[in-house]
Symmetry: C2
Subunit: 426 residues, 2 copies
């Protein structure tokens, strides 16, 4: 029976999940694969904190280097998160001839090129299934199951916190701050929620997905990133009237040999499957040229789902599966956001006077933006009423210029809001 020895650095939420699966499913994995997974050591700075599982004292160490330097350990699992010292741990583990499994999306998105280079030179594997969408095996799907597909487009709900907040806002008509507070109370959002609500976490994950999809270097800095903090409950209401839901989507597509890489709130037709993905769940829609439309759904975070992905990576590496098949050396231009085309939703807060619609649509006309539908609702005592417009496909560049002009019109009472719209053009 083949034995594989594992050291885990980081005994937090994901570490606890991975470790408990390693221990509890040991026999199951042995039966299924003929491989015995042996947990040799677990490192964490804090060994006293109470945890869901208790380990024998001799398995524990406060010193990660004990694992990295242990000549018996075959696979080092990095689950501490953050860039430093996670990067140093991983690079040094690779230099010591160990395969690595990590759930660290920030590290991979921002510094992954160095890590994969190091691994490739040494013929070692880096498993990172757990870094994107928790228990959903999207990395395996893209690298292995869809190996014979050119990826045409990927649309992902890959941040559970923001999806929970948007779902709350949609179902209960509450505003962003209240929904965020609830997410924090339930432990779905952190005390400092910036990484999630500003879309940065989604952008990290999108960076990884795009590199797999197109074979390009990890390009986090090229991702356009816009969070959900400016979404108002009235925008969600108007979206509903038009038959859409608002989701924070991570999007990458290949158009005319250029790649789009963007994270932003998006209006999605409510009958699309991805619109039905609610709460903390994640889903990734992948369109391949052979396979067509596919979608993968599950829990994008949490101790056990993410632990399940970590252990699947460990098993693959133990079986000798060569996971590092992409070499991230393809060259594509990444389109700046100004160059994209999209349909758009606009909400203008306009004074309730005659001629407002004609003024705004005049500016649209000057910038080649063609209107698809309009909602203008009753009178307001305060003077400003929402004027909502859906457009046909337009250039982002034109949209930005038009909005700037419209915001200067005397009849416009507040900064205008726009949201990109996906779906078939009518």
């Amino acid at each position: 029976m083949k034995q594989v020895k594992i050291g885990v650095i980081g005994f937090g939420t994901v570490g606890t999940g991975a470790i408990s699966i390693l221990l509890n499913q040991k026999e199951l994995v042995k039966k299924r694969t003929g491989i015995e997974l042996i947990l040799k050591k677990v490192a964490d700075k804090d060994l006293e904190r109470p945890r869901q599982i208790s380990l024998p004292r001799e398995l524990l160490t406060a010193d990660a280097w004990e694992i990295i330097k242990d000549p018996e350990i075959d696979i080092v699992v990095e689950l501490i998160g953050g860039i430093h010292p996670a990067k140093e741990f991983i690079i040094e583990a690779l230099r010591n001839g160990k395969h690595v499994v990590t759930a660290n999306k920030a590290l991979l998105a921002e510094e992954g090129n160095d890590i994969f280079k190091e691994a490739k030179e040494r013929g070692l594997q880096v498993g990172f299934e757990a870094s994107v969408a928790g228990g959903i095996p999207i990395i395996k799907v893209m690298r292995e199951a869809l190996v014979a597909n050119r990826m045409l487009a990927i649309y992902g709900i890959i941040n559970g916190t923001t999806n929970f907040i948007l779902t709350k806002m949609t179902n209960e008509g509450i505003d962003f701050p209240e929904a965020l507070r609830e997410a924090q109370e339930l432990g779905y959002a952190e005390a400092d929620p910036t990484l999630d609500i500003e879309g940065i976490d989604s952008a990290h994950k999108l960076t990884i997905l795009a590199s797999l999809a197109y074979g390009i270097p990890l390009s986090f800095k090229s991702v356009y990133c816009e969070g959900i903090t400016k979404i108002a409950s009235q925008d969600i209401e108007f979206a509903k009237e038009f038959g859409y839901k608002i989701k924070l989507l991570a999007i990458t597509k290949l158009l005319d040999s250029e790649i789009e890489l963007r994270v932003h709130p998006t209006m999605v037709p409510e009958d699309y499957l991805i619109s039905k993905v609610d709460g903390v769940f994640n889903a990734i829609y992948v369109e391949g040229d052979s396979v067509g439309a596919t979608l993968y759904y599950g829990r994008g975070a949490g101790s056990m789902p993410t632990g399940s992905a970590v252990v699947a990576d460990i098993v693959d590496i133990a079986k000798g599966v060569k996971t590092l098949s992409f070499d991230f050396s393809e060259k594509y231009t990444i389109k700046p956001i100004e160059e994209i085309e999209s349909m758009y939703y606009f909400r203008f807060m306009a004074l309730d006077r005659p001629g407002v619609l004609s003024k705004i649509s005049g500016v649209f006309g000057e910038h080649n933006i063609s209107i698809a539908s309009v909602i203008q609702k009753g009178r307001s005592k305060a003077g400003a009423v929402p004027l909502v417009i859906l457009t046909h496909k337009a250039k982002e560049k034109d949209v930005l210029q038009a909005v700037q002009k419209i915001d200067q019109l005397p009849v416009v009472a507040a900064k205008s809001v726009f949201i990109r719209v996906e779906g078939q053009e009518e």
Copy 2:
């Protein structure tokens, strides 16, 4: 550069897809995997029929044995379907030391134990991703991504024909025969649609999924199988009133160390993601003990999606991935359908007389069936009106006995209909 030589037996719909992907994505696959896939020979009884792609004459043969006996060929791809001679081809290919890839669910479900035994003894791989749910990589997901999970339940829409028919019936209010005719006109249903509409195709695929999930031998004969031919449009309407959709589900779950294996029309809460899977699309919901709820969606059939799965298997085998990790030797009792528990929907055609409900609910009471909701609608000129009842969880055995008694009541005008209901009990 590693080269792998492939022979394809069967140049039909799936063969055409697989071959065109092998040829068109050759460079892509080479770049991604470092492996050159070489199509050495294609066998089909009919070489004259016009096809989407034309191959050089020297690649073609009418004699499958030419491929099976060719010492240069590493992987034999069987895409002719049916039990014989597909089984003989595969067994002989294995005996000649070749790995096998097949899309043949009927063969695997009914005779797969022999094939896997032969492969195991020889240390060869049998890839069968394309046998279940076309382009959805459900086999890989279950064997590899969820390797550290005990499977708690699987619910699949794994037959596109019946899902297309049920979707048509639901959206257009038409009856089964008309929807079937449309499916046939569009090429989604065969001239003899029995395998699809009676649920047999779903049962074949469920057999394969259950063997992977629980490590049991392929047990097609133990699958309870009920098709969609008796679903009336009024049942779909009533389901809607209760907030359900009717889907043909393939279900397997592990309960009290016993396995359920069943295919039947099922009422599913309309807000469940799987309820939104419409038309010819497939989806499989898999619940693992670590990963929780996951769902995989895509095209379950068609030349290119299925071809995509075939080529993914070829690549895995070429890379040396050991796919045959389950040994199908676990022993579980498979529960006979009479032993299951479920919620139920009943439609009784009752004479419009006082006391009918009390008579029927009396029989229910005698058999420990507890009523959750009732719909009894207006008067009928014909005398018989539908009485529709949803129950709490009940034993199938009790349900069968109760229905038999109720059908003998003088106030009941026609054979009663019942449909199993999934979802949370209220």
